[in-house]
C-alpha cells in the first residue's frame, strides 16, 4: 500500500510538471488527467487503509473517486472542445494571444449581433 502511496505522490508531481512546462495545450490536458489520476489513487490509498467490516476498502472514498472520474471526463471534454474551436478559428492552438496581436484572423460568427 505504501508503494502505491509513493506512486500517487509521484504521479501528481509528474502531472503538475507536465501541466506547467508543456507548451502544447493538448499535452497540458493529458498532463492534467495524469495529475487527476494521482489524486484519485491517493483516495484509493485512503479507502484501502479504511478496510473494515469485511470489505477490502472503505466504500465512501471509492464512490467519491467514481464521481471524480466522471467529472474529470466532463472537464476534459469541455477543454478539448474549447481547444478545437480555438484551432478552427485561428488555425493554431497558441494560448499567448498578445504576441499574435494584429495577425488575428477575422472570426466568422462569434461577434455579438
Amino acid at each position: 500500500m505504501t508503494i502505491f502511496a509513493a506512486c500517487a505522490a509521484l504521479l501528481m508531481g509528474l502531472g503538475l510538471f507536465g501541466l506547467i512546462t508543456n507548451p502544447q495545450p493538448l499535452r497540458k490536458i493529458v498532463a492534467f488527467n495524469i495529475l487527476g489520476s494521482g489524486v484519485f489513487l491517493l483516495f484509493g490509498i485512503v479507502a484501502r487503509r479504511g478496510a473494515a467490516a469485511g470489505v477490502g476498502a472503505d466504500p465512501v472514498p471509492q464512490a467519491l473517486v467514481i464521481t471524480g472520474i466522471v467529472v474529470a471526463f466532463a472537464a476534459t471534454a469541455m477543454a478539448v472542445a474549447l481547444l478545437l474551436r480555438l484551432f478552427a478559428d485561428r488555425g493554431d492552438t497558441r494560448l499567448d494571444h498578445e504576441s499574435a496581436a494584429g495577425t488575428e484572423p477575422a472570426r466568422d460568427d462569434c461577434r455579438p449581433p
Binding site: 478545437l84 484551432f87 478552427a88 466568422d108
Partner: protein, 91 residues
C-alpha cells in the same frame, strides 16, 4: 497454486514492461499502438490470473471490460490516423 498463478501474473507484467522498451524507441505511432494493444491483452491475462489466484470473481468483469475497450481504442486510433492530415474541413 496461488503462488504459481501470482508468479505467472508477475511474469506477464515484466513482459509488458519489456514491451514498453519498444514504446520508448518506437519509430511510428503505429508501433506505439501495437504496444498499447499488447498492454491491453497483457492486462487481460494478468487480471484473469489475479482473479483466479485471489478468488475474486469481480476481477474477471474488469478483464472482460478491458478486453472490450482495448479493441475500441485501436479502432479510434485507426480512424483518427487516416484523417490526421486534413484538419481544414472543420469550420
Amino acid at each position: 497454486m496461488v503462488d504459481f498463478l501470482n508468479a505467472a501474473a508477475g511474469m506477464l507484467l515484466i513482459t509488458t514492461m519489456v514491451g514498453l522498451c519498444r514504446m520508448l524507441r518506437a519509430p511510428t505511432d503505429t508501433d506505439r499502438m501495437m504496444t498499447a494493444q499488447l498492454a491491453g491483452s497483457g492486462g487481460v491475462g494478468i487480471l484473469a490470473l489475479l482473479a483466479v489466484a485471489g478468488e475474486a470473481p469481480p476481477v474477471l468483469d474488469v478483464a472482460l471490460l478491458l478486453a472490450l475497450l482495448a479493441a475500441f481504442a485501436s479502432v479510434a486510433f485507426v480512424s483518427g490516423a487516416s484523417t490526421s492530415t486534413s484538419p481544414s474541413d472543420r469550420p
